[in-house]
Amino acid sequence: MAVWTYRWRPPARAATAGAVLALAAGPAVLAAPAAVAPAPTSVAPAPTGGQDQGENLYRQNCASCHGDQGQGGPRGPSLIGVGAASVDFQVGTGRMPIPHEMQQPRRGEPAFSADEIAALVEHVTSFGGGGPAIPQVEPGSLPTGRELFAANCAPCHGGTGAGTELTNGWIAPPLYEATPVQVAEAIRVGPGLMPVFPSQVFTDQQVNDLTAYVQSLRSERLDRGGNPLGRLGPLAEGLVAWAVALGLLVAAARWLGRGAGE
């Protein structure tokens, strides 16, 4: 089950469609979508002190939507049984807490320190219900990981790991910022529209292999051909061919023609 699927109803499809038109109109309007980006979260300072720390953090940052005991509410789903991996993933990638309701929270700087996240994870797991624990990632085999990735992950995250669009404005995010533990957590938890891959589907070793391959995708060594253009594929390459290469060559032809006194 999706954990943080706040249903943000877009005001009107026409508005989003208008954004596409705006993009076509010129790069100046590109600034407009930035307004949707989450504002920097104002996080209440957490008082130090073992057991209480997690509870305080939860009360101040999560309870207003997820409820005092994680039972959920009109604005947020229940946290009972989501598991430590899910909490660690959502908070550790900076997706939670979110400043306002949105369809798909984006990755950002985590709002809490590692200790605070650990305390929060401990507090939420104390609500009960079980759920996947934070995986222990160990070294894996790259070739096996590549094959698993191509069969299970590439259709959404792309063979290059650049991510792509899904249905209804959801995206499968790029994988370049995820740490090994976060990759393993996402596989086990299945955040957002991502399917869950429990241990019946992938053994721990297979998760390790996948994690190893996703980490290798981050490496610049794979961009040995030069600037990867965001690894977006042939249309980005075509844009460079037209804007840079053909632009230069036509300018050269003009320059050479002008040299002839034309």
Binding site: A19, V20, A24, P155, G226, P234, A245, V250, W255
Partner: protein, 571 residues
């Protein structure tokens, strides 16, 4: 001296000197837009050179091969021989990746240059009689270039290109009655067949390149035979070509362009990654990657497939699937329209005369409007091929993007086309030389349809005027031979005839051919040469040097500042 003797020996046996003298004296127009086709020609040169290198290492076979090489994530994986050899080219052959990437970039530039060249020919009316045949040859070459681009892109047998091949196979299968038979004829079985890659290879390195080279020769031979067109201007008539001689000035300029093309292509090949097949992985019919688009020059077809609604009809008991219309019909209509355009235009305007002088785009508002409409239409289709990227970057539902583009592909071409007609008319009727000079009154006047007299004046045949004030042909002896030049004092133009003539009469005849009806005068000797251009050249070099050093200083300053901010560079 050796060159001299070699030339003499060849001339003794083959009598080359008259031919060479004629060829070297051939005149090329100076306008820069005449070099656009040369960009395509030199890209083809780069393609052939890099392609030969690639064939030395590429293994066109779909046989199983266990990959062993520098790319760790594929170590020990069984892939096709084609994919494994592409991987070896990219990771283990010295300079292999540079050549492979340069080849791919050259293909993108090749088609782009052909398109820009075609646009120039179209908007200036250079396809009109007597050059319709060369237009047909050119459009055929465009089609062959697309075909070769696609086959080359599909050969490495990586996941992304395999998806593209699957789509094109499905498009062919969508042809009613014959589709599936055509596919099994072409592939030697079902997709993906073992015959596929060898056949793509033969098409890519032998059949299409041979046809391309043959057509390029025909294209150039026709240009030599028919001579170049030129823009109208003082001293330029339907009977002459004004420009630079092939040797020395034009050949130097052309070689400079060759150097530019090679430099840009190899720079891109070394600096910008293209088609990283190791990231996509080998093709497997059960797998997919996303976002996925084809190379830009077939992206219009992909965009049309994405935009076209899923309509299927039944015709005489046969199902016509949806991809038939955007895939087969659109492609067919596009190239048919391109082939037919010169004849269509002749039929519509009734203009059957030969034209050596070009139109400016404003001279034919309707043609300009049609061209802009078509270009906008295809540009929107190319954008539509990237609907997945647009949706991801904007975080809007992909179906909304599709719907917006569906409206745009129908509305935007009409708007831009109408705007082009309006601007062309306004430019033509006003004194303005550039778009920026247009006033609001010009635009308002342009809304009226063309008057009958306007239509005729543009096509009025050029008549030799009995007396043109200020125009003279000057003839003078140059050693044993004779030269002539055209001089137009009011326009400040002096044009030297490109070849010497053995007698005064022949010189006068050739001058009369180029400038009928202009008076001849004899002058004692060659006109004084223009002042030496050393000073101007020095000034230009000094400006360039100052600019370059300023740029270098700015770059160094920026780098130092960045280092200062981040502290010393980590080891």
């Amino acid at each position: 001296m050796i060159m001299d003797r070699l030339a003499r020996a060849l001339d003794d046996r083959l009598r080359l000197s008259p031919l060479t003298r004629r060829a070297l004296a051939k005149v090329f127009p100076d306008h820069w837009s005449f070099m656009l086709g040369e960009i395509a020609l030199y890209s083809l040169v780069a393609l052939v050179l890099t392609g030969v290198f690639l064939t030395l290492f590429f293994d066109p076979s779909s046989a199983d091969r266990v990959y062993h090489g520098s790319y760790a994530p594929l170590e020990g994986t069984t892939t096709s021989a084609a994919y494994a050899s592409t991987m070896r080219l990219s990771w283990d052959v010295r300079a292999g990746l540079l050549i492979r990437q340069t080849h791919h970039w050259a293909a993108l530039i090749f088609v782009a240059a052909i398109l820009v060249h075609l646009v120039r020919i179209f908007f200036t009316g250079a396809f009109r009689k007597p050059r319709e045949a060369n237009w047909l040859v050119g459009v055929t070459m465009l089609m062959l270039a697309l075909a070769n681009g696609f086959t080359g892109y599909s050969m490495p047998d990586d996941l992304l290109s395999g998806l593209g091949l699957r789509i094109i196979v499905s498009v062919v299968e969508s042809i009613p009655v014959v589709g599936s038979r055509l596919v099994s004829l072409g592939l030697g079985g079902e997709f993906p067949s073992d015959e596929m890659i060898p056949r793509l290879f033969v098409t890519h390195v032998l059949l299409v390149p041979a046809a391309l080279v043959a057509l390029v020769s025909v294209h150039l031979a026709m240009i030599v035979r028919q001579k170049h067109t030129q823009f109208p201007g003082p001293g330029r008539t339907e009977h002459n070509v004004v420009g630079s001689r092939l040797y020395p000035s034009y050949s130097l300029r052309s070689l400079a362009l060759l150097a530019w093309v090679l430099a840009v292509l190899f720079a891109l090949g070394g600096l910008v990654q293209i088609n990283p097949v190791w990231l996509y992985g080998p093709f497997d019919p059960a797998q997919a990657t996303s976002p996925a688009q084809p190379d830009w020059y077939v992206a219009w077809g992909d965009g049309a497939l994405r935009l076209f609604p899923p309509w299927e009809i039944r015709l005489a008991g046969h199902l016509v699937p949806a991809p038939f219309f955007p895939g087969v019909v659109l492609g067919g209509v596009t190239f048919l329209a391109l082939y037919a355009w010169p004849f269509l235009e002749r039929w519509c305007t009734g203009d059957r005369r030969a034209h050596q002088l070009l139109d400016r785009p404003r001279d034919h508002p309707i043609r300009t409007g049609v061209g802009v409409t078509a270009l906008t239409f295809f540009a929107v289709l190319v954008v539509a091929a990237g609907d997945d990227i647009i949706a991801r970057l904007l975080r809007v539902p992909v179906y909304d993007v599709l719907n917006v583009l569906r409206v745009m592909v129908l509305v935007l071409p009409l708007l831009t086309g109408a705007l082009a007609v309006l601007l062309a008319r306004a430019l033509r009727r006003s004194e303005a030389t550039h778009l920026g000079d247009l006033t609001r009154a010009d635009l308002r006047a342009a809304r009226r349809p063309a008057r009958a007299d306007e239509r005729t004046t543009a096509d009025e045949p050029e008549l030799p005027a009995p007396d043109r004030p200020g125009e003279r042909i000057e003839l003078w002896p140059d050693g044993e031979q004779w030269r002539w030049r055209y001089r137009n004092e009011p326009a400040g133009v002096a044009i030297l005839g490109n070849r010497k003539a053995p007698t005064e009469r022949e010189a006068a005849d050739s001058a009369r051919l180029a400038y009928p009806g202009v008076d001849h005068v004899m002058v004692p000797g060659p006109p004084p040469p223009p002042p030496h251009p050393v000073r101007a050249a020095l000034r230009r070099w000094a400006t360039t040097a100052i600019g370059a050093s300023l740029l270098a200083a700015a770059l160094r300053h920026r780098r130092r500042r960045r280092w200062g901010r981040n502290g010393p560079r980590p080891k």
